[in-house]
Symmetry: C2
Subunit: 124 residues, 2 copies
């Protein structure tokens, strides 16, 4: 059975969204069972928004949906990797391709993911 064990962590599992072409890790969000089922049914990533406490169809407002090519599950069934195509090119609400756009290397912090859109233009 290929399904996360939602009982282990209070009904939620972390889901890593990874760009299926480049391998860049774009974001991490959480799924409940409903989000998992909707993702399988639609082929587009759905999460549970912990801040808004509601089902979250990623890109449902902006059009920047995540088309799911494959899903990986870990050895203890409590974490997912979604291999996705990010429509619009950016996963982060700041307009950057990845939410992980700051990087620490040898004590120096730099930016490591490009700005793709102006959030003021997308979220009105």
């Amino acid at each position: 059975m290929f399904a996360p064990d939602f009982d282990k962590q209070g009904g939620l599992v972390p889901a890593i969204a990874q760009d299926a072409d480049t391998g860049e890790v774009l974001m991490l969000a959480y799924m409940n069972e409903e989000a998992w089922k909707r993702t399988l049914e639609t082929g587009e990533a759905h999460y549970w928004s912990r801040s808004r406490q509601c089902l979250w169809h990623k890109g449902g407002t902006s059009g920047h949906v995540q088309k799911v090519r494959s899903i990986r599950i870990d050895c203890d069934d409590d974490t997912l990797v979604l291999m996705i195509e990010q429509v619009g090119g950016a996963a982060c609400h700041t307009g950057r391709r990845s939410c992980f756009f700051r990087e620490l290397v040898n004590g120096e912090v730099s930016e490591c993911s490009p700005m793709v859109f102006d959030p003021k233009e997308v979220y009105r």
Copy 2:
């Protein structure tokens, strides 16, 4: 300030370990503040083991440590990506390179990460 906000999620943040050369996501574990500090001090990944409730120097027993080349943090400071070199070639206790070794594609499940070592030989 480049540091996770440990207060947001009960003292722990998820940390994704990604192979710095291949981009493969190898595992996800959790860090508390002590694990974060020890990782920065030593250059080797330390986590908080939720099952054993103790600081966990990954590979401390097997020798299969994770050498950290860089660390990325997300837009809301509550998730990390460690870009690592996995000594011994496998992150998973099953002997596979990645803990995410099962993949669902078009309704079919297959294995997607090779067996690197025999766990019976490494964990005695």
